[in-house]
């Protein structure tokens, strides 16, 4: 099964590089330029983003003991969206210093602002989690906090210029295209170490599957781990959202599916399998964005349109196992 998955990932990468974009470039003089400056960064973005979002979802589903949890459900995406909206919609009104003036549309500011938004939402949820022990209530609280963030985004939109508004709306459709190799590098520098940190914490993550007190007695450090998990998942969600827009679906569906397809695995392998699945999902979604009869569709639309039926299909396939979650 794992080899099958690896083969599938390789196939996805190849398909993404070959098909995601106009298909008549191969063999022309521009092919090399397009491969290294457009296709390769895009493919890498797909992989990193898929890794980041699905890992974030897996962490949150483990933490909340709830397969409904995910960056888009808990309002982390909304928090990041608020941070980004601040920058995109109000860039002219705030002085962003030397960097902004000299580098133009600066991703550094965008990342920091998006991360701040995501962390703020997570901080609220974490504070609540100290007082409220019920995980279901926390999920609802996350939804509400996300709603507040989106409402503020609404206010910002209402008072913003048409051009800024268009930029923001386009950003919300989600896109893996248009990043330079440098920007992909920044993404990798943040996402890969965060992912490795999750791997290093895998045994502690396993404990989160158990009842909290039972796990504590076994040597689980509940408070430290809660903080770490929320921080790591915020970083992952924020960085992906800052670069690629609020991409939903991956964060919920992929961890859920990996847990069904690789039900015997604990976190060490599950994290890896999950990241691979997430990467291939976005790779294929990107192919579909470009591929169908010359139509181009935004990433989030493709994801919802084609991804959701696939999940439904798998759920029906596995309907015999009664309590999937």
């Amino acid at each position: 099964m794992v080899f099958g998955l690896l083969a599938f990932v390789v196939l996805s990468v190849a398909a993404n590089i070959y098909f995601a974009g106009s298909s008549n470039v191969w063999g022309t003089d521009n092919a090399e330029y397009i491969l290294f400056n457009l296709r390769l960064p895009k493919t890498l973005t797909c992989i990193l983003c898929g890794m980041g979002l699905s890992t974030c979802g897996l962490l949150l589903q483990t933490f909340f003991k709830n397969p409904l949890a995910g960056p888009s459900v808990l309002g982390i995406n909304s928090g990041a969206a608020l941070g980004t909206a601040m920058v995109i919609l109000f860039s002219e009104h705030i002085y962003l210093g030397y960097l902004w003036e000299n580098v133009g549309f600066n991703y550094g500011v965008l990342i920091i602002s998006s991360l701040t938004g995501a962390l703020l939402v997570m901080a609220v949820i974490y504070t609540l989690s100290l007082a409220v022990k019920n995980q279901a209530i926390l999920v609802i609280a996350g939804l509400m906090v996300g709603n507040i963030a989106l409402a503020i985004v609404g206010v910002l939109q209402y008072y913003s210029q048409p051009d800024d508004l268009k930029n923001y709306i386009l950003w919300t459709f989600g896109s893996v295209a248009g990043l330079s190799m440098n920007q992909v590098g920044i993404m990798a520098i943040i996402i890969v170490p965060t992912f490795l940190a999750c791997i290093a914490l895998s045994k502690q993550l396993d404990f989160m599957l158990l009842d909290n007190r039972t796990a504590s007695a076994l040597g689980f450090k509940s408070k430290t781990m809660s903080r770490r998990v929320l921080l790591l998942s915020s970083i992952l969600a924020a960085i992906c959202t800052a670069f690629c827009g609020p991409i939903g679906f991956v964060g919920i569906a992929v961890p859920y599916l990996s847990r069904i397809l690789f039900a015997k695995e604990l976190h060490l392998k599950l994290l890896i399998v999950n990241a691979l699945l997430g990467a291939s999902l976005i790779l294929w979604a990107d192919v579909l964005c470009h591929g169908i009869a010359g139509f181009r569709l935004p990433l989030n639309v493709v994801m919802a349109l084609f991804g959701s039926p696939i999940v439904l299909l798998i759920l029906f396939r596995y309907r015999r196992t009664k309590s999937l979650g």
Partner: protein, 243 residues
């Protein structure tokens, strides 16, 4: 483990435990009516809550295991995985489980009559099966002190007997300690060494053979509409040795 002048409760003191010592090789049972603070005391002894006043002294090198009355686990956790997690303690992230550990899990599942459920989700088990599973997991982790909140609440007579005999054997052969709450008083009188009775916001300690114990129990559990009589020496049950 010792408790000295400890006031037990979340915010208001429910009762005070004046002086209680639990020694290795002993089963202590906390008895009392619903809502009297048994679970709160158990959590305080396990270190999840601090006493409002006074103190609980426990050797920090001692490993504990704790089993609450309601165990909330992840809905996508499988039975086999749940048992393996007992070996997760101090295990570095790159290390996987040894063949011995997996064999121990299988042996336990077989003994607890759960082997056919190994690939099932924990949440699919019946309440009783789940209770046996978590107890088995706690024993696999090989603690020095085992805290159990109503470990037999969902179990039938056969399984209750099985669990109590299992615990008794474990405590005696490995010199371990069990502290539990339970409502199965007939079994408790037979299997535990000491009893802490919580009644009327007071706690009293008895050894199981104490002459006043049965009268005090009858007092404590008799309500205004009914009378309880746990007659002395009434529960001399004989168990067949299956080996």
């Amino acid at each position: 483990m010792e408790i000295k002048h400890a006031h037990i409760g979340y915010t208001d003191s429910l009762f005070m435990v004046d002086n209680l010592t639990v020694k290795p090789g002993e089963i202590l049972c906390i008895l009392g009516n619903n809502g009297c603070g048994k679970s709160t005391l158990l959590q305080t002894m396990a270190g999840f809550l601090s006493p409002l006043k006074g103190m609980v002294v426990r050797d920090t090198h001692q490993q504990i295991a704790f089993l609450g009355s309601k165990s909330q686990s992840h809905p996508q956790l499988k039975v086999g995985q749940a048992l393996l997690l007992a070996f997760n303690k101090h295990k570095p992230w790159y290390k996987s489980y040894s063949a011995d550990q997996m064999a121990a899990c299988d042996a336990l599942l077989k003994e607890y009559n759960l082997l056919h459920k190994k690939g099932a989700y924990v949440n699919e088990l019946s309440d009783g099966q789940m209770q046996k599973l978590w107890l088995g997991q706690a024993l696999l982790s090989n603690p020095d002190i085992l805290f159990l909140d109503e470990p037999t609440g969902h179990l039938d007579a056969t399984n209750t007997a099985f669990i109590f005999m299992k615990l008794k054997h474990w405590v005696e052969t490995e010199n371990k300690t069990v502290v539990l709450t339970s409502h199965k008083i007939d079994w408790i009188l037979q299997f535990s060494d000491n009893i802490l009775l919580i009644d009327d916001n007071k706690s009293e300690q008895f050894s199981t053979g104490h002459p006043e114990l049965v009268d005090r129990l009858n007092d404590c559990f008799s309500g205004s509409y009914h009378k309880v009589d746990f007659g002395r020496n009434q529960y001399q049950l004989q168990f067949k040795n299956k080996n």
